[in-house]
């Protein structure tokens, strides 16, 4: 058991191509850190540097206070699960799982015991003698997980392990993953572009964009108080409504409607953010409402996602999650903006203004 620490980790391919810029992170034992961000944000490069598949240009990787930056992958005691699973096609499921243990020259009895443990946890017992070609995608994924689990590594690394599974299976394996890794003591680093995976699995989420760490925190914190406009727009589905607005006195103008700025905001331009799920039908006493014309209703099953053009400025379109038991199309609709759910960001720096 050992904590993982990244210090000033930088990867540069050339002067202009710098996928990872001065990253500082700590993942403690029992922590499940997810690196999430759009394609090209540097998340996979970070994972590869932790694994030793790529060398950092600058900075250090520490596992349990031991600097492993210059060590070969084999000397780092890590286990990795890949997007493509990368099972050895010529070996049976059992041999695949045991492959990492044979290297350590463990006694055959020990190897067998650990393989059985892992295959029991992952429900692979009936498949141990099969070749990977004879397995389904979900089964292959579980073999790849078992191959990592048996090693009892100091750090687990998972690179988009669910992205090759269909939606239904992905949900199921995600739940399995959460249970399996809840019992693991070692730090886990998980890479994904899927925010649902990030939110459901992690104890800590690192949102990355352009090689920079945008925010690091508990999934709840990232959702509730996004540190900047990027995090606000990236986390949450459907996406947060974000309107760059200019200030008029102590208010901002949203079409025909005035929204008062919170106290202590001095920026001349701001970005107003509100999540679709926080907009609701007005109740008596709601001071802040916006009316707009509904131009699109998307049925999400449990809810409707309603898009409306704000009165007074048709370029502003607002999306709201509303109950599916009413008809919303082609009508003027007034929605309440509960002030405590509004996020304010600076128009220039795009950083969060209110707590």
């Amino acid at each position: 058991m050992a904590k993982l620490e990244l210090q000033d980790l930088t990867k540069a391919y050339s002067r202009d191509i710098v996928p990872v810029k001065r990253l500082n992170l700590t993942v403690e034992d029992n922590e499940f850190l997810t690196l999430v961000g759009p394609s090209g944000c540097g998340k996979s490069t970070i994972l590869r540097m932790i694994a030793g598949l790529d060398q950092p240009t600058e900075g250090r990787v520490l596992i349990g206070d031991r600097d492993v930056s210059r060590l070969a992958p084999g000397d780092r005691n890590i286990a990795m699960v890949f997007q493509s699973y990368a099972l050895y096609p010529h070996m049976t499921v059992g041999e695949n799982i045991a492959s990492g243990l044979k290297l350590r020259h463990l006694p055959a009895g020990d190897i067998q015991k650990r393989v059985q443990e892992a295959s029991g946890v992952l429900g692979l017992d009936p498949l141990l003698d099969r070749k990977p070609a004879k397995l389904s995608g979900g089964q292959r994924q579980r073999v790849a997980l078992a191959r990592a689990l048996v090693r009892n590594p100091d750090v687990f690394l998972l690179d988009e392990p669910l992205s090759n599974l269909d939606a239904l299976l992905r949900e199921q394996v995600r739940a399995d993953l959460k249970q399996i890794f809840a019992d693991q003591k070692s730090p886990i680093v998980y890479v994904t572009h899927d925010q649902t995976e990030a939110m459901t699995l992690s104890t800590k989420v690192a949102v990355l964009s352009n090689g920079y760490l945008q925010q690091l925190g508990h999934p709840h914190e990232i959702y509730k108080t996004p540190a900047n406009r990027f995090v606000a727009s990236f986390i949450g589905s459907p996406q947060m409504n974000l309107f760059p607005l200019s200030r008029t006195g102590n208010d901002v103008v949203l079409g025909n409607f005035r929204v008062p700025l919170p106290a202590g905001v001095h920026s001349s331009s701001v970005i107003l953010g509100i999540r679709p799920e926080h907009l609701r039908l007005p109740r008596p006493g709601d001071a802040l409402t916006v009316t707009g014309n509904v131009f699109l209703v998307e049925n999400l099953g449990m809810h409707d996602l309603v898009s409306l053009k704000v009165q007074g400025d048709p370029s502003l379109s607002l999306r709201a999650i509303l109950p599916a038991d009413a008809t919303w199309s082609r009508e003027n609709l007034t929605l309440a903006l509960p002030p405590e759910t509004i996020h304010w960001f600076d128009g220039e720096t795009e950083q969060r203004l209110s707590a």
């Binding site: 694994a51 598949l53 992958p73 084999g74 990795m80 990592a148 090693r151």
Partner: protein
């Protein structure tokens, strides 16, 4: 045709000791170039699979050498090595190299980089990756190359008779010179049978090396 076959059979019976010697020589003419080809070609093929530069240089030069007919190589070798077994071995070695080299190169190159990376990521040292992952995966393709080389060298070893290195080709040369198809057949039939046997045997090896279902994984 039938009388020719009968004559050939009779000739073979009368000359069984000479045929046996020729067969031994022929097998030696197959085994030595093949052994050299494997000893040199397998490591070179692995090296060329690892490096684009080596691959370009090596594969192109051996392919260039391949267009020179074995017979021409044989006669070009004679002034240097004389009318000898060595000349024949040189020519035949040049013949077996390209299929072994190319198949080894292709075999290793075709292994998914993701698999190699997974092995590295799981802490396997390069020597173990080669031994437990890469070689087993490359083997079927390599065996296919060896099979091609073997069949080619069995057939082409008949040419060794032209430089006095013996082998079953000696009967073919003699048959031509004497205008006697019976003698010619005594050389040609065993060569054809040998080639067929090699093809069948190595195909079986290839199938054994190809673990079931591996290709589609």
């Amino acid at each position: 045709m039938l009388p020719t076959l009968q004559n050939a059979y009779q000739y073979a019976l009368d000359n069984s000791d000479r045929i046996l010697t020729a067969l031994q020589q022929h097998l030696l003419l197959v085994a030595v170039p093949l052994a050299i080809g494997l000893l040199v070609g397998l490591p070179l093929g692995l090296w060329s699979a690892r490096s684009r530069v080596v691959s370009t240089v090596m594969l192109n030069s051996f392919n260039a050498l391949r267009v020179i007919p074995s017979l021409a190589v044989l006669f070009l070798a004679v002034p240097v090595l004389g009318l000898s077994f060595s000349s024949a071995v040189l020519a035949l070695t040049l013949l077996v190299m390209p299929p072994i080299l190319i198949s080894t190169d292709v075999a290793f190159r075709n292994i998914s980089p993701a698999i190699r990376e997974a092995a590295t990521g799981m802490g396997m040292p390069p020597a173990d990756i080669l031994k437990t992952v890469e070689i087993p995966l490359a083997l079927p393709v390599i065996v296919a190359g060896i099979k091609t080389a073997t069949v080619e060298v069995i057939a082409s070893a008949t040419l060794a008779a032209f430089v006095g290195a013996g082998g079953l080709g000696a009967f073919i040369v003699l048959g031509f010179a004497a205008y006697d198809p019976a003698i010619l057949l005594v050389g040609a039939v065993p060569v054809a049978l040998l080639a067929l046997l090699a093809e069948l045997g190595l195909s079986a090896v290839q199938r054994a090396a190809q673990a079931p279902g591996v290709r589609s994984a």
